[in-house]
Symmetry: C2
Subunit: 152 residues, 2 copies
């Protein structure tokens, strides 16, 4: 399989609400009132955690199948703290994003801890979102010289 191309395109509805299209799917994003929004949907940094959990789920099941692990269910909790000072433009030494992330995996299976530790190591190494959050990713941001919006 060659490289897969993924994209989203979307527009602001309010200063905090954004509607993104990913193929045929619509993803609505907003902020809670404490961050200036109307709480119409999960917020940007929550979607990052949700995507990460969804990725660990897919890779978790794929690797379990390869190792002969019968995974009846996989529960995942991911959490992290953000100091909003930089986001708000206040003086701070802290970074803008999550300072760290804590992932808690709860596989429902009869396997013992040794095989599950091996499973976890392989899952970590092969999960795309884990890679992009844990390690740097080159990003280019472009701005057109003329101001316009994308055609729908």
């Amino acid at each position: 399989m060659s490289s897969l191309h993924f994209s989203v395109v979307g527009q602001s509805v309010t200063p905090t609400k954004f509607v993104a299209q990913a193929r045929q799917f619509e993803v609505v994003i907003d902020e809670p009132p404490v961050l200036g929004g109307q709480d119409d949907a999960a917020n940007p940094v929550e979607y990052i955690l949700a995507g990460y959990a969804g990725c660990l789920n897919v890779v978790g099941h794929l690797v379990a199948k390869e190792l002969g692990i019968h995974l009846r269910k996989l529960s995942i909790r991911i959490e992290g703290d953000i100091n909003p000072a930089r986001f708000l433009g206040q003086p701070t030494e802290e970074r803008a994003g999550y300072k760290s992330l804590q992932v808690h995996l709860l596989p429902e299976t009869d396997e013992g801890p040794e095989l599950l530790q091996k499973w976890l190591q392989i899952v970590e190494a092969r999960c795309p979102v884990n890679d992009n959050l844990r390690f740097p990713t080159p990003i280019s941001i472009t701005l057109p010289l003329t101001s316009r919006v994308y055609p729908n």
Copy 2:
């Protein structure tokens, strides 16, 4: 404002479908058939792009307001390529996640390119998701010794 805590918790519905809760919001994640799913929702790496776009939208409007830029609308497209070889467990030199990300911002405004370039620099520096994707983030992944699921 002190640090803000964010979390998601969820469970697998199928090997590719995952339902995450972020506060009162449900985020459903699946994979397209080419990646083994039933295409019930956007996939994990698309949610990463959507969260990133939503974050740039919020910070973009916040910084525009500070700079006196009247932003009538902000359109955002984000795209990237993933080689699925590592995800699939095939031998490869390529990383698991997005090799790079291309972000295209299209602000609908009457401001000229000079002020918009200044706006962009500040937005990049203050966007939490930009920070977590562009720079490394410490991650801990834990596995319980006993296999169980989270209580709902």
